[in-house]
């Protein structure tokens, strides 16, 4: 049962990523367009569907939750393989071009939040 959960997650991952890659090809760009997002939608929808039919076991859910708990350790490992040196050694232009756009976008946060529908 545990592995069925992992397999479900893997199925959603593969389907979503391939959809993202295909979409990128169709648009003629060298990038994955929303693969992770599609995979997440597949996971949410298939979980709902399985629950409706009474096929979603608790242990299956644990196969997925294990990975969501591994998330932070994986992010720690990810940050430790970043090219941090190049970020700080490429001069003022790279630093400013990395920092100022973030600040400009952050300034828009409150405005967009006001436009968002309430729960």
């Amino acid at each position: 049962m545990l592995l069925r959960g992992v397999a479900l997650l893997a199925a959603c991952f593969v389907a979503g990523q391939i959809l993202g890659e295909t979409l990128g090809r169709l648009l003629g760009i060298q990038a994955n367009v929303g693969g992770v997002g599609f995979a997440m939608l597949f996971l949410i929808l298939s979980q709902n569907e399985l629950e409706k039919r009474g096929l979603f076991h608790l242990e299956m859910g644990e196969g997925v939750t294990f990975w969501s708990k591994m998330y932070i350790p994986i992010i720690v490992a990810m940050s430790s393989v970043q090219n941090v040196r190049v970020a700080f050694s490429n001069g003022l232009l790279a630093l400013l071009a990395g920092i100022l756009p973030v600040l400009a976008c952050l300034a828009l946060m409150p405005l967009l939040s006001k436009l968002a529908p309430k729960e």
Binding site: Q30, M40, T65, I72, A77, V81, N90, A97
Partner: protein, 252 residues
């Protein structure tokens, strides 16, 4: 000594689990004692990861942080795109489809605004520092989106390699800034609901930065932010070498 390093490289992933566990254990301790729990242990662990990557980069002059150190190659797998994306997808379980659907349109708006504003501000900075040709300006503007959009755009437009290097560096700076800055700024920009996380993901883009920043802020927000952020790089690769480049060429 030699055979131990060979052993660790051969069993790289398992060794990476061990080292990450040690980093997180010490970070929890620092969080409890030095900051009295004010800065979460996860945020400190992520920051420690970046610091280790910086010093490993100085030592090895490599591109892959501590994965370039002998014995630590397994970090490339554990911290690579495959495990990262697999774990991000898993966080979607239990996320509300209703909220995602309802916030969808504003999420798309935030994506377009995020790409265009980053591009424009990035290009203005490049211009003010003496760069004047449309290709280089576009490449640096694209680098201000993410460290993937920069090189993809630069390669497509035939920008020089040092300009592409700057665009990658700008993207990496952005990713690191979002990683460290998100938990610090979250209370001031109202980043506490799934809706706001979706908008944040769209504005910031950088999947690694957004996902790590939200994880340190509130793990419940991760799936919502990642949902929009994952479309950002694709949208950037779509807009920068085409529409935005044509606009730049019309101006310069």
């Amino acid at each position: 000594m030699e055979y131990i390093i060979t052993f660790l490289d051969k069993n790289g992933l398992v060794f990476a689990f061990l080292v990450t566990g040690i980093i997180m254990y010490f970070s929890e301790g620092i969080s409890k004692t030095l900051t009295r729990g004010k800065i979460p242990g996860s945020a400190i662990s992520i920051f420690m990861g970046l610091v280790l990557a910086y010093f490993a980069g100085l030592l090895t002059l490599g591109k892959k942080g501590i994965a370039d150190l002998p014995g630590f190659s397994g970090f490339e797998i554990m911290g690579g795109a495959m495990f990262r994306d697999f774990a991000i997808v898993s966080t979607a379980m239990g996320a509300s489809f209703a909220i995602i659907k309802k916030t969808g349109p504003i999420g798309i708006l935030s994506l377009f605004l995020g790409v265009i504003i980053s591009f424009v501000v990035g290009a203005i900075i490049a211009y003010s520092m003496g760069i004047t040709d449309a290709e280089s300006l576009t490449t640096i503007g694209a680098g201000a989106c993410t460290f993937v959009v920069g090189p993809v755009t630069g390669t497509a437009l035939g920008a020089s390699s040092d300009i592409i290097a700057i665009s990658i560096a700008a993207g990496v700076v952005k990713s690191i800034l979002v990683t460290i800055g998100t938990p610090l700024i979250a209370p001031y920009i109202g980043l506490k609901t799934p809706q706001s996380a979706m908008i944040f993901g769209g504005l910031m883009g950088t999947t690694s930065g957004t996902a790590a920043g939200l994880a340190a802020t509130d793990p419940k927000l991760v799936p919502y932010g990642a949902m929009t952020a994952t479309f950002y790089t694709g949208l950037g690769c779509l807009l920068c070498p085409s529409v935005l480049y044509f606009v730049m060429r019309a101006i310069f």
